[in-house]
């Protein structure tokens, strides 16, 4: 049992199931991201943890206490909203103090806690300002301070950075992560930005169409996607249709060229055509050496991106994108030329079509 547990959680609106059989156990102090496209059910799941939505089925426990039916104000959970949701009629200090004030904490304790929280989010001088007098980044820091002021047991963040510009987003996500580590607070973070999820999380829950596609560390999710959806949503991944030759040895054929999937293709039948994943950075534009897979193709596109050159090589029905570092001494190969690419056997992964409900 974890600190925050979701067991068999479902959410149904009429005939529409938006969250299907969601199971997750989060440890105390862990930073978990729910990653997926719009409408995948990640925000609904977060809102069920917050208490804004009641699950149609399943149980939610926080620190062993069943909170499934409790109202939001009975859960001691903090939440940061995408739109900040600061109270416009209250100053920064009053916003941060709100939770303590409604809990009728002593005034000196409130003042001390507000000062402490504003110092933590690096806005100690802005207590007298109103939300409209702050930038988006400052407003989100205040929202974070307000959520943390009541010392919640779990912190929920619903796409908190999506309304900010790229530069602020990067600096603020580093701050959120370091603050979370400092306070050791169990955190659930909803995002559709894979870079955010990969850079901040202890574990990522990738969701699609109301179901969990994969749960794993950023390393696992990025390098070993479990399903076709994860492979296409996380990073830029090549997906190749391969005909299975020998499931035991991992031999498969792609556009008439035989290669080996080092991790095997267990579960696939001989002659089946199954999706395989291959990361662009795992492919090199040479024959390679040792026991690497090698395939011949034609350079179809060359995109110069500065430090990186992205090349598309077509084999037949399938094509791969590969990234090479720019070398001022060597020009990229011309379009239409023949090329041989190579990749490690372990880099070619069999994908499931989708996770089971």
């Amino acid at each position: 049992m974890g600190f925050l547990d979701l067991e068999g959680v479902r959410k149904v609106y009429g005939a529409n199931t938006v969250v299907r059989n969601f199971n997750l156990s989060i440890q105390r102090g862990e930073f978990i991201s729910f990653l997926g496209p719009s409408g995948c059910g990640k925000t609904t799941t977060l809102r069920m943890i917050a208490g804004f939505e009641i699950p149609s089925a399943g149980t939610i426990r926080i620190d062993g206490r069943d909170v499934t039916e409790l109202k939001p104000n009975q859960r001691n959970v903090g939440m940061v909203f995408q739109s900040y949701a600061l109270f416009p009629n209250l100053t920064v200090a009053e916003n941060v103090a709100f939770g303590l004030k409604v809990a009728r904490r002593p005034k000196d304790e409130i003042a001390r806690r507000v000062a402490e929280m504003l110092a933590i989010v690096k806005l100690p001088e802005l207590g007298d300002r109103y939300p409209y007098q702050l930038s988006g980044g400052q407003q989100q820091r205040v929202a974070l301070a307000r959520a943390l002021a009541v010392k919640p047991t779990v912190l929920l963040l619903d796409e908190p950075l999506s309304a900010l510009d790229a530069k602020i987003r990067i600096s603020l996500r580093e701050e959120i992560r370091s603050l979370q580590r400092e306070l050791d607070i169990t955190t659930v973070y909803v995002t559709h930005d894979q870079e955010e999820a990969l850079s901040m999380s202890d574990r990522i829950v990738v969701m699609s169409d109301g179901r969990v596609e994969q749960i794993g560390t950023p390393f696992e999710v990025y390098n070993y996607p479990a399903t076709r959806f994860v492979a296409s949503f996380v990073g830029t991944l090549n997906i190749l249709d391969a005909r299975i030759v020998d499931p035991a040895s991992g031999r498969v054929v792609i556009d008439g060229q035989e290669v080996i999937a080092g991790r095997g293709v267990n579960g696939a039948g001989v002659g089946e055509v199954r999706p395989m994943a291959l990361r662009p950075e795992a492919i090199t534009l040479d024959g390679g050496n040792g026991d690497r897979n090698r395939m011949q193709g034609t350079i179809e596109e060359v995109a110069f991106l500065g430090a990186v050159v992205r090349i598309r090589v077509r084999f037949g029905e399938n094509a791969v994108l590969l990234d090479t570092f720019n070398n001022p001494g060597v020009a990229p190969p011309p379009r239409g030329s023949r090329a041989e690419v190579s990749f490690g056997r372990d880099d070619l992964l069999l994908l499931q079509d989708s996770a089971a409900d």
Partner: protein, 298 residues
């Protein structure tokens, strides 16, 4: 060059301020109307309030306002206006809240909006007769209540041709007006504020007390004052309903200018000036309070 192409080329020049905008022409009739039928008549009556019939300056018209009948008329007018504004604001708020935030069936909203739009403009003689036909001494509702429920409104002290009768009649257009004004204001209360307050531990009452009411305060106040002014200036409904049995300022003013035995237009001007000052003061108060209430809005 096509017409569309011409417009596309010309538009940026017009926006840059290099050419005179024809948009002013569009609102000229409005300004003309305002000047002819609001500004000039107001100036005329302000000047007339300080003139004798032969045109010389006098303070006598103003001094004559301080007679018991007129002071009483102002006082009753203010009471009727305050009562109908406060009751209208309260009822209108409850209805608007139920429609916007009360999770009622969605089709109800356009129905309420349409009805309110019509009812808020339904005043004057038709409204007076509608109320006489229903709640008057021989009205349908009065008779039904008496016959089937044993409730004799007259015996209970209710008289449509009285202070409360007029107030209830005014409520017919005051409540829908409040509903129309408040619905967009309630729409402006963001769901995230309520959720943020809840997750911080606030009860719904604490949320309304610390966030929603302060945010709504300028709208509530503005709408209530508008309702006050709406009732204070209403004459046709009051006159058709009560004739001269209820002594309120618009009826007294009407009596001075319509040309019968009471004909004294300059006293009428002074009465109107008093009405302008009262509604003006109400508006100044509203602006001051609104600025205080909105100091946190950009």
């Amino acid at each position: 060059m096509s017409r569309e192409a011409e417009l596309a080329v010309v538009a940026p020049v017009a926006r840059s301020g290099g050419r005179r905008s024809w948009a002013w022409l569009g609102i000229t009739p409005f300004f003309l109307f305002t000047v002819l039928f609001l500004i000039l008549p107001t100036l005329d009556l302000v000047v007339g309030a300080f003139q004798t019939p032969d045109g010389s300056f006098t303070l006598d018209n103003i001094a004559r306002l301080n007679q018991p009948t007129i002071v009483s008329a102002y006082w009753i007018s203010i009471q009727v206006s305050v009562a109908s504004a406060l009751l209208g604001a309260l009822a209108g708020f409850v209805i608007a809240y139920a429609v916007v935030l009360g999770k009622l069936p969605r089709p109800l909203r356009p129905f309420v909006t349409t009805f309110s739009g019509v009812a808020s403009q339904f005043a004057g003689i038709p409204l007076a007769f509608a109320f006489l036909a229903t709640l008057g001494p021989t009205g349908l509702v009065t008779a039904l209540l008496d016959q089937y429920a044993g409730i004799n409104l007259r015996a209970l002290g209710f008289n449509l041709l009285s202070f409360w009768g007029l107030t209830i009649t005014y409520l017919y257009f005051q409540i829908p007006l409040m509903v129309l004004i408040l619905m967009p204001a309630l729409d402006g209360l963001r769901k995230e504020w309520r959720e943020a307050a809840a997750i911080l531990g606030a009860t719904p009452w604490q949320y309304w007390r610390h966030v929603a009411f302060p945010v709504l305060w300028p709208s509530l106040l503005g709408a209530t004052i508008l309702l006050f002014a709406n009732a204070f200036g209403a004459v046709a409904t009051a006159y058709a309903l009560t004739g001269s049995s209820l002594n309120i300022v618009p009826i007294l003013l009407y009596a001075q200018i319509r040309g019968d035995v009471l004909h004294d237009p300059h006293l009428g001007y002074a009465l109107a000036l008093g009405m302008i000052l009262i509604t003006g003061l109400a508006n100044v108060g509203y602006i001051w309070l609104r600025q205080r209430g909105e100091r946190w809005i950009k």
